[in-house]
């Protein structure tokens, strides 16, 4: 099986996405699958072009498989299509004016596409998701407590969880673990049993578009379970413009 490229957070930055696509094509080992873990959009007009680019890959590019990110969820909430009714989180983070900015930035006809995206993707034994199995806002980092990481993996029975919320590139391996469990009910009492955890990992896949001139993403080789992080530098001046949120 060939490599996967996994990226997150294009955030409406077309130049950054093009740079990453070019880097993917340069790989000696061909990349067969391309996963985008949300935040394709940001509250910028350029997001529309990014959506179009994502939806229409060139002939020598894999068809991206995309799931919802934090910005996509906020957009759906504004359009009354989200999991919650009120854009509370959006307003808390960016203020009330952001409601209009985001609404105006993404044309209505794009909303249907955003709505069609899955919350997460499951391939082989891997969960690919923007935040975590808990929510799109759940931010996993190299400093997240081990037990919390394990919980996020076990909620979906995944051996590897790829996520992008933090924007960081990291590989967090749970190498081994044990706990002794015993149970007493009304009718019986079990003697303590040692339970072991099998090795699992959480991979932060970086961020493509947030940092001007520098994009990061991950390559994954399913056969050998190997992860490689790529940092791509590109000319930030070339037609790249970004409204600061």
């Amino acid at each position: 099986m060939n490599d996967w490229a996994i990226l997150s957070g294009i955030e409406g930055n077309l130049a950054a996405y093009e740079a990453v696509l070019a880097d993917i094509k340069r790989q000696r080992q061909p990349v067969e699958e391309l996963y985008i873990l949300g935040d394709v959009i940001a509250p910028t007009a350029e997001s529309e072009q990014v959506i179009q680019r994502v939806r229409s890959p060139q002939q020598n590019e894999p068809m991206p498989q995309v799931c919802q990110g934090w910005w996509e969820e906020q957009l759906l909430i504004l359009h009354g299509l989200g999991r919650t009714g009120e854009p509370t989180e959006l307003i808390e983070r960016y203020g009330i004016t952001m409601v209009k900015t985001l609404w105006d930035a993404i044309p209505r006809e794009m909303v249907e596409w955003v709505r069609s995206l899955d919350f997460g993707l499951f391939e082989l034994d891997c969960l690919l998701i923007h935040g975590s199995s808990v929510s799109v806002s759940d931010q996993l980092t190299p400093d997240t407590p081990a037990m919390q990481m394990l919980d996020r993996l076990m909620r979906m029975e995944a051996n590897t969880l790829f996520c992008g919320r933090s924007g960081l590139t990291f590989q967090y391996e749970i190498q081994q673990g044990t706990v002794t469990s015993s149970l007493t009910t009304l009718d019986r009492s079990n003697s303590p049993q040692a339970i072991a955890v099998k090795p699992r990992q959480v991979v932060g896949v970086g961020n493509v578009g947030r940092l001007p001139g520098q994009a990061s993403y991950a390559l994954y080789r399913p056969n050998s379970n190997q992860v490689e992080f790529r940092t791509v530098r590109y000319g930030a001046g070339k037609g790249f413009q970004r409204a600061s949120p």
């Binding site: 190299p142 909620r155 749970i174 673990g177 009718d187």
Partner: protein, 270 residues
């Protein structure tokens, strides 16, 4: 000190009375209640009045929430369409008979309570709808206790009481991130426990008796209590009040009023 913990009374006043007098006999110093005061059973107002009169610290259960917020649970919180229809019947009945001040009381209940190294929730610390079944993976169970910062997590919601001890938990992790050196971290947790208080008014362990737990803090000992009561009285009241007779049939057999979800850890994202 003896702490009595009870849960899931579900409008069963007879059962509540029996449990309260058993708590008295056991000379418990404190009582906590883990919610679901109403729903399915015939005496929601009387149950809430009693809890209020005795000033028992109580956290909010999913049925209490639904009575306050309006039935908002999605289909996935019911294991079957039959259970959903019965749940809705029970909800509508309760919604009609409940007194305004009872509704207000249910509305202000907290989602969790804390007493030193003890934490009290209805379902799980993450969500009052999550079922912490005894067979939940040990690490998942451990995470639920750890996230509260307490040593013992008391929960209800499953209607079957148990004590689960999770000892000598440890994890070995390796973290690599760009720009920093690889680091190995080990994590360990001392003894943590999950105590499920069972159900006062809607038992599910195959007998009609009410269940609750007592924690003796000095001896560090947890006792599961099973209390007989005149369940036939509750059954008769269910039928007299126009609730579906099948509720009485199930109550008399310790079957709970509705089946439980197939995938109990599933929590609706809505």
């Amino acid at each position: 000190m003896k702490v009595a913990v009870m849960s899931c009374i579900h409008g069963n006043y007879e059962a509540l009375n029996a449990v309260l007098s058993d708590i008295d006999d056991q000379s418990a110093d404190k009582i906590y209640c883990l919610g679901d005061l109403v729903g399915y059973g015939p005496h929601p107002n009387a149950v809430v009045e009693m809890i209020r009169a005795l000033d028992i610290p109580t956290c909010q259960g999913c049925w209490d929430e639904d009575i306050v917020e309006g039935l908002n649970s999605c289909e996935c919180s019911y294991p079957s369409v039959l259970a959903e229809k019965r749940g809705k019947q029970a909800h509508e009945w309760t919604d009609q008979v409940i007194h305004p001040e009872v509704r207000e009381f249910l509305a202000q209940l907290p989602l969790s309570l804390r007493d030193d190294n003890l934490c009290f929730v209805h379902g799980s610390p993450h969500n009052q709808h999550e079922y912490l079944m005894p067979e939940v993976d040990a690490f998942v169970a451990l995470e639920r206790v750890l996230v509260t910062g307490a040593d013992i997590l008391f929960c209800g919601h499953t209607h079957v009481p148990y004590v689960r001890s999770l000892d000598a938990g440890q994890l070995q992790i390796r973290v690599k991130s760009t720009g920093t050196t690889e680091r190995d971290v080990s994590f360990s947790a001392p003894l943590k426990r999950i105590v499920n208080a069972g159900s006062v008014g809607e038992p599910r362990h195959g007998r009609p008796n009410a269940t609750y737990v007592i924690y003796n803090t000095d001896a560090d000992q947890i006792t599961l209590r099973e209390v007989e009561y005149d369940y036939q009285k509750t059954c008769a009241a269910i039928i007299d009040n126009g609730l579906p007779p099948i509720f009485a049939w199930r109550l008399a057999r310790g079957l709970e009023f509705a089946e439980r979800a197939d995938d109990p850890t599933h929590v609706c994202e809505r």
